[in-house]
């Protein structure tokens, strides 16, 4: 039996095919090259920043910068030990204030009442809060804490930073909890576990690494913020003796010193920047090491 030809016979690789495939291959090659090129470009600001920090900050980096007080304008020597302590104190206060609220809030909206109208409201407000300029958080804490206590303080600085951290912690914790497969919850509830047992024994341990990453992001951002602290903790040339007095911070020190007309102080601002970046990166790496999953 003859099979009728519907198409004129042609070679498997016709000239026309060659031409279009060349075009397609070429444009594909072009796009790939562009993507690789631009991903290198994203590394440029990062590495030039690091280079600049190390290049300009390293010369003054001695052990004494961690132990001494800032030099008065125009004078040499000294360090910024009080600013390091101040930053750690304020970020610590901010974490203590925002982490419990953020994490418990995330557990509520993700585990207990994912479909309630309160949940929708909380989620919406948290998303709005992430976009609020940090200086507004400073002004708010100024009105709330500084005006009431009658002085600038580390507590007020911590309160300002906590407002900044809260939405980040809440939203990243919620994402972390939602990332836990629902089959784990099914298994746990199916075996007769209570919601608390399911959350505490199954969901939280699974979500913890991602939650900690979110917390570190919030901490890193808070540690570098100047505006909220400027309004609330001000600055101090002295060691702080309590959280109820004006307190130095690395970010405000960098802000102050970089504006001074003295070369030495500007150099010290670079060194402080290097220390700040190292602290944030160090905490990040530490958190990753501590909270890395035991399995997988």
């Amino acid at each position: 039996m003859m099979i009728p030809h519907s198409n004129p016979p042609h070679h498997f690789f016709s000239n026309h095919e060659k031409k279009t495939s060349f075009l397609r291959l070429w444009s594909n090659q072009l796009l790939t090259t562009l993507c690789v090129l631009f991903s290198f470009f994203t590394l440029v600001p990062l590495f030039s920043l690091l280079y600049l920090l190390i290049h300009k900050g390293l010369p003054l980096l001695h052990f004494s910068v961690f132990t001494k007080l800032p030099p008065p304008p125009g004078l040499h020597g000294g360090g910024f030990g009080n600013a390091i302590i101040g930053t750690i104190t304020m970020v610590g206060i901010a974490t203590l204030l925002s982490a419990p609220i953020g994490i418990l809030g995330a557990i509520y909206i993700s585990e207990y009442a994912p479909h309630s109208s309160l949940t929708a409201t909380v989620r919406f407000i948290a998303k709005l809060l992430t976009g609020i300029p940090s200086i507004i958080c400073g002004a708010f804490a100024f009105a709330l804490v500084v005006l009431h206590t009658g002085q600038f303080s580390a507590l007020a600085g911590g309160a300002a930073l906590s407002i900044l951290m809260l939405p980040t912690i809440l939203l990243t914790s919620e994402q972390a909890l939602m990332g836990v497969p629902s089959s784990y919850r099914d298994a746990s509830y199916g075996l007769g576990a209570t919601p608390f047992q399911t959350i505490w024994r199954i969901v939280l341990p699974e979500a913890l690494p991602a939650m900690m990453m979110g917390m570190m992001l919030a901490v890193a951002r808070a540690a570098g913020e100047t505006a909220p602290v400027l309004f609330t903790a001000l600055f101090s040339q002295q060691w702080a003796s309590s959280i109820m007095e004006p307190t130095a911070s690395l970010s405000v020190l960098i802000y102050n010193f970089s504006a001074l007309p003295y070369h030495y102080q500007v150099q010290m601002a670079w060194t402080a920047s290097l220390v700040l970046v190292a602290m944030v990166t160090g905490t990040n790496i530490l958190a990753q090491l501590l909270f890395r999953r035991k399995f997988q």
């Binding site: 479909h115 497969p181 089959s183 784990y184 919850r185 099914d186 298994a187 746990s188 509830y189 199916g190 075996l191 007769g192 576990a193 209570t194 047992q197 024994r201 199954i202 699974e206 999953r293 399995f295 997988q296």
Partner: protein, 275 residues
């Protein structure tokens, strides 16, 4: 628990659709005029039947026929979803599972459940099996060890894993993981075992092992299994219920359902004319 109180012939219409004749065991689970709704959508319509203890009952029917929904009502897992409600009743040993005096947690501890996709916790094999004991507050080493060995032996997994109980359960093969989930489900010594398409993600060899297991486990447990495989239903179950469009069409001895179904719909389904 001792299923003595209610006899299958009491309180029930004597149609074969409700209680297959010749079932001598006492009624264990009874579904009475049961309707179920997801929001406004009704998914189960006036279900009535009685399941005897220490038998394997399989639920068959096309996707969306309501068989899994009904299964998830026995341990009230459906209540984890928003906007669900039911009418009618389900009783176990004559007591309503929806009664206010029944603690949902206690109910689920009496009913083991195995899911379609095996879902071991990302923990050690040991911790997976003892989870039901841990949540009941039992941390006695000797008792935990004994439970692990007994449960894993029941699912024929003990010899395969006894030397690596501390390893992560996610490192097991698909069939082993599902058997581990069965071991976990029976570790708390429930009376009933619900299985929601337990073999749908497994290869034929792993499936055969689970099926052997089901036949073995019915000596101890009342088993209800939802399955899409009619061969599986005929191989493992004593009784078969056929569902379609949220209604119980026919409920009878498995061999009768597969050889001489009364309803036309059942016959069409099992001969592959639809579904």
């Amino acid at each position: 628990m001792n299923p003595t109180s209610i006899n299958s012939t009491e309180l029930l219409p004597s149609s074969s659709k409700v209680t297959p004749s010749g079932v001598t065991n006492e009624t264990f689970i009874k579904v009475i005029n049961f309707d179920f709704f997801y929001g406004k959508k009704q998914t189960l319509f006036n279900i009535n039947f009685a399941i005897p203890s220490k038998h394997v009952t399989s639920f068959i029917g096309p996707s969306g026929s309501g068989k899994s929904t009904l299964l998830r009502n026995f341990n009230r897992m459906n209540e984890l979803l928003p906007g669900v409600r039911h009418e009618g009743d389900i009783t176990i040993e004559g007591r309503s599972i929806f009664d206010a005096s029944i603690e949902i947690i206690a109910l689920r501890r009496r009913i083991g459940m195995v899911f379609q996709k095996s879902n071991p916790f990302p923990r050690s094999i040991y911790e997976n099996v003892v989870f039901p004991l841990r949540i009941m507050g039992c941390h006695k080493r000797a008792h935990l060890n004994e439970t692990v060995e007994r449960s894993l032996r029941s699912v024929a997994l003990w010899d395969e894993v006894k030397d690596r109980l501390g390893e992560n359960a996610l490192g097991l093969s698909g069939g082993q993981m599902q058997r581990l989930c069965i071991a976990r489900a029976i570790a708390g010594q429930p009376d009933i075992l619900l299985m929601d398409e337990p073999c749908s993600a497994l290869d034929p060899i792993a499936t055969a092992k689970i099926e052997e297991l089901i036949v073995e486990l019915k000596k101890e447990f009342t088993i209800i299994i939802v399955t899409h495989s009619m061969q599986q239903a005929s191989r493992v179950s004593d009784l078969t219920a056929f569902f379609n469009f949220g209604k119980l069409i026919e409920f009878d001895h498995t061999n009768r359902i597969f050889t001489a179904p009364i309803e036309k719909q059942t016959e069409d389904y099992i001969t592959g004319r639809f579904g």
